[in-house]
């Protein structure tokens, strides 16, 4: 491993690999350091949603739309089949109370110029005949899609390597080298590397790197569990979520005194992969430490909850379950950009459940910063400085 690099990226997940690739395209060859293997953490413990409707109106939605277009462009230029499709997405609505809230959410999104609309239960069933009769309406947008997150991460890494990026896997960073209050490199299990720019793209593990330079990064691992079914012929055409999680985002009081599913943090997400397996999710909880195991209660609840929306699923065999950790940032926004108090350090973490969808645009933003210290996007609100006031 070389002892000097223009830029050091810590973290070989989808964010780190996207940054490495786009930075190389702009002319700087980074050294990418990964403690395990490429994409072995959060980027392979998740679904493949590139969902627009779930993004907060405003900056996050604007960036997500940009990112979705970039992903399509990268799939072409990387020459890899990432199974990226945009068949449209449904947010399923079960009752009048949820419908009212979703009507309001959709109105706000429409004001931003987003193509989204409320459709009836029958219209939803015409799109997806497997849906239960209990669904009274849905929010629908043509813009939603999904991608294979593992292949995408690997493709970014391969694309970066082809442009001369050096990737060092199984190489944990053990310290950050500082001189006169600024970053001058990193210390690793394989030796020291000097660099003026170090990017922290460690996701849920970003706080560990932060602590090395006295940063208190408010990211916590938030676990999500997913069930994988036997492979089937085409059953679903769209990607799907239920409306309750979104309603709660807008009306937190709805979460109180909820049913067993709410208590366990269980919601609905469904996508069918190109291989025919159906991924059924999902859940939210804060485990002990970095515990990535699945639990009996939650996996069972996910299966039961999904069967309410899609009855035939109760006859389908689950062949696997897995859990991943989302980098949850306490204020709900990612931490992206240079850190004023630690010159030389750039943050690129805390995207919670949006990391796959936003990977392309975050890579663009962070590679801008690493090139010129600034970016064409207006994303000052994502800076770490907001926690230092």
């Amino acid at each position: 491993m070389k002892d000097r690099a223009e830029v050091v990226i810590i973290g070989g997940g989808i964010i780190g690999c996207s940054i490495a690739y786009q930075l190389a395209k702009k002319g700087k060859k980074a050294l990418l350091l990964e403690r395990d293997g490429i994409g072995e953490g959060t980027s392979s413990g998740c679904d493949g949603f590139v969902f627009m409707q779930t993004k907060k109106p405003g900056k996050p939605l604007e960036l997500a739309l940009k990112s979705a277009d970039l992903l399509a462009q990268f799939e072409k230029e990387l020459g890899a089949d990432l199974h990226y499709v945009r068949p449209g997405g449904l947010i399923l609505i079960e009752n009048e109370e949820l419908l009212k809230i979703m009507e309001h959410v959709v109105e706000e999104q429409q004001k931003q110029g987003m193509e989204v609309r409320i459709i009836s239960g029958d219209e939803a069933r015409a799109m997806e005949p497997c849906l239960s009769d209990n669904i009274i309406a849905a929010a629908y947008s043509d813009l939603d899609g999904h991608i294979n997150p593992i292949d995408t991460t690997q493709a970014f890494a391969r694309g970066a390597a082809a442009l001369g990026v050096e990737i060092e896997t199984h190489c944990p960073v053990t310290g950050i080298l500082m001189e006169n209050g600024r970053v001058i490199g990193v210390d690793t299990a394989k030796g020291k590397v000097y660099s003026d720019t170090v990017i922290n793209a460690c996701g849920v593990w970003a706080p560990e790197i932060g602590r090395m330079v006295g940063m208190d990064i408010p990211i916590r691992p938030r676990r999500g569990m997913t069930l994988v079914t036997e492979p089937l012929g085409p059953m679903f055409h769209k990607v799907m979520l239920d409306s309750r999680y979104i309603a709660i985002k807008h009306h937190p009081e709805m979460a109180e005194g909820g049913d067993e599913f709410l208590k366990l943090g269980v919601g609905l997400s469904i996508e069918q992969t190109a291989h025919g397996n159906i991924l059924i999710g999902n859940s939210r909880d804060f485990p002990e430490g970095y515990d990535r195991s699945v639990t009996y209660e939650v996996t069972r609840a996910i299966a039961r909850y999904a069967s309410k929306f899609v009855p035939f699923l109760q006859d389908v065999s689950i062949i696997r379950t897995f859990a991943g950790l989302r980098p949850y940032c306490t204020d709900g926004y990612p931490i992206v950009g240079p850190v004023k108090s630690v010159p030389g350090m750039i943050m690129a973490s805390g995207l919670e459940g949006d990391g796959i969808a936003l990977s392309a645009v975050i890579g663009d933003i962070v590679s801008d910063y690493a090139m010129d210290g600034t970016t064409k996007y207006e994303v000052d609100s994502f800076l770490f400085d907001r926690f230092e006031k």
């Binding site: 085409p234 195991s293 009855p311 006859d315």
Partner: protein, 474 residues
């Protein structure tokens, strides 16, 4: 074709069952699986593979592999080798991955029967090891749930028509099929044992919580200890066209012939001359099927001499230092080319011989089914002498995870008599570790001695080496 006259077995056909295959009306009998009924009707090509659309037939016949997936009553991916035939069934071949016919399935029914049941011990797998483990643990007053994936217990015993070896205590001189019946009766009579058949264990969760699908309903079993006796699956052999219908694992041929009473074909090439290969060859002769030859890659066959003698007397050649070069056939097996091997197991050009067979039976060993040990976090080790990856277990059948025990082939490939004893040992140890045993020392000494005798002979040297290797780091 069905077997009518058999020197040992008597096949009592149940009532007629009418079903449809590709729109054609066919008749089977109660007690048939879908696969055995189709075999009787001459249907051996069951489906097409997903990617290359190659013909697929039965391979393992015990629900382990995915070679026999078909669409039954609108439901794809049904393992027809273990699916009981029912009146009015509509059976279709599966071309790659098929969607569900949601007009036929999926009426949402609330199943609040599903909860968590508590027990002292759960035994996963109702073969000889699991049955003995359950009986032993229950004899010390512990409540036991025995979970078995198939519709009945007995595992591979239910097709062993040969008489067992060993001493009287290990049922020497008794046929496997009769041992199975005896153990099934004892299980049924024991008030401490609940036998759950048609129960697939889905997962192990920390604290010995088991998720299982019991009669199509997902249930939890909270146990104090878990005994894993999931058995083994048949190894495959690599040669061109090894996926043609008509090429079976040896156990599948036994299942068809000895359990379902179906003749697997007319002319058989047996691959592998260990005990299983030799015994199944002889059973094929008993069923009136021609065994063309037994080929064995090693320069010496691995099975007992007595089994080999029976074959030689019947004129079946046992060709050592031979292997299958390739198989051929359009939709299903029509023949194979065999050839000789040199001392380094390389094929010798010019030694090829063509054999016309419609059945090839692969008996090249077994691999332990270790998924559950892995999921429970038990330490695993690769020990080829024991069949591949095995859980690291001590002489008391304990794995490296507290409260998780191994019994039978899932802990290392031996034979049925040893499996029954490791089952006894596991049940006994689980009871002892829970403080439920009064007479542990005497029982343990007895079982350990019997097991020691089974493992003492020259034929068991491989197992002894394997056990030593497996325990090196314990």
């Amino acid at each position: 074709m069905r077997l009518e006259n058999h020197p040992i077995l008597e096949f009592k056909r149940g009532k007629e069952i009418h079903y449809r295959f590709r729109g054609q009306d066919l008749v089977g009998y109660e007690g048939d699986t879908v696969a055995s009924a189709l075999h009787d009707a001459g249907v051996r090509v069951l489906s097409e593979s997903a990617a290359k659309h190659r013909p697929r037939g039965l391979y393992c016949a015990i629900g382990n592999c995915s070679s026999c997936l078909m669409t039954v009553d609108g439901k794809p991916n049904v393992r027809v080798c273990v699916e009981p035939l029912k009146e009015g069934m509509e059976i279709e071949p599966q071309i790659g991955y098929q969607p569900y016919d949601i007009t036929k399935v999926g009426k949402y029914k609330k199943s609040d029967k599903a909860g968590i049941v508590e027990t002292d011990i759960v035994v996963v797998g109702g073969g000889p090891a699991g049955m003995c483990a359950a009986l032993e643990a229950a004899s010390h007053g512990l409540k036991v749930i025995l979970a078995e994936r198939n519709v009945k217990t007995g595992g591979q015993l239910v097709k062993q028509t040969h008489k067992f070896f060993g001493s009287e205590k290990q049922k020497a001189g008794t046929r496997g099929i009769d041992i199975a019946v005896e153990l099934q009766q004892k299980l049924a009579e024991d008030p401490n044992i609940t036998v759950w058949t048609d129960t697939t264990v889905l997962g192990y969760y920390p604290g010995n919580l088991i998720m299982a699908e019991h009669e199509k309903v997902v249930m939890g079993i909270q146990a104090k200890s878990v005994i894993i006796s999931t058995g083994a699956f048949e190894k495959s052999l690599v040669f061109p066209n090894n996926d043609l219908p008509g090429i079976y694992g040896a156990g599948a041929v036994q299942t068809l012939m000895n359990q379902e009473g179906i003749k697997p074909g007319s002319h058989v090439l047996m691959v592998g001359a260990g005990n299983i290969g030799l015994i199944v060859s002889y059973q094929l002769l008993q069923a009136g099927v021609d065994v063309v030859a037994v080929v064995e890659a090693a320069p010496h066959f691995g099975g007992y001499e007595v089994h080999a003698q029976k074959l030689r007397r019947a004129g079946v050649p046992i060709l050592t230092s031979h292997t299958v070069k390739y198989a051929f056939g359009k939709e299903q097996l029509e023949g194979a080319v065999i050839c000789e091997l040199d001392e380094k197991f390389r094929q010798i050009p010019g030694t090829e011989q063509e054999v016309k067979v419609d059945v090839m039976c692969i008996a090249v060993g077994l691999s332990p089914l270790i998924e559950m040990f892995s999921q429970a976090g038990c330490r695993l080790k690769f020990v080829p002498e024991l069949g591949g990856h095995v859980p690291v277990i001590d002489e008391f059948q304990r794995t490296t995870v507290e409260g998780v025990y191994a019994a039978g082939d899932s802990g290392g490939i031996e034979e049925a008599s040893s499996a029954m004893l490791t089952g006894r040992l596991a049940g006994l140890q689980a009871a002892q570790d829970m403080g439920a045993c009064d007479n542990y020392d005497a029982l343990h000494a007895d079982y350990a001695e019997q097991l020691g005798l089974l493992r003492a002979g020259p034929g068991a040297a491989k197992i002894r080496n394997g056990l030593q290797k497996m325990r090196e780091e314990v």
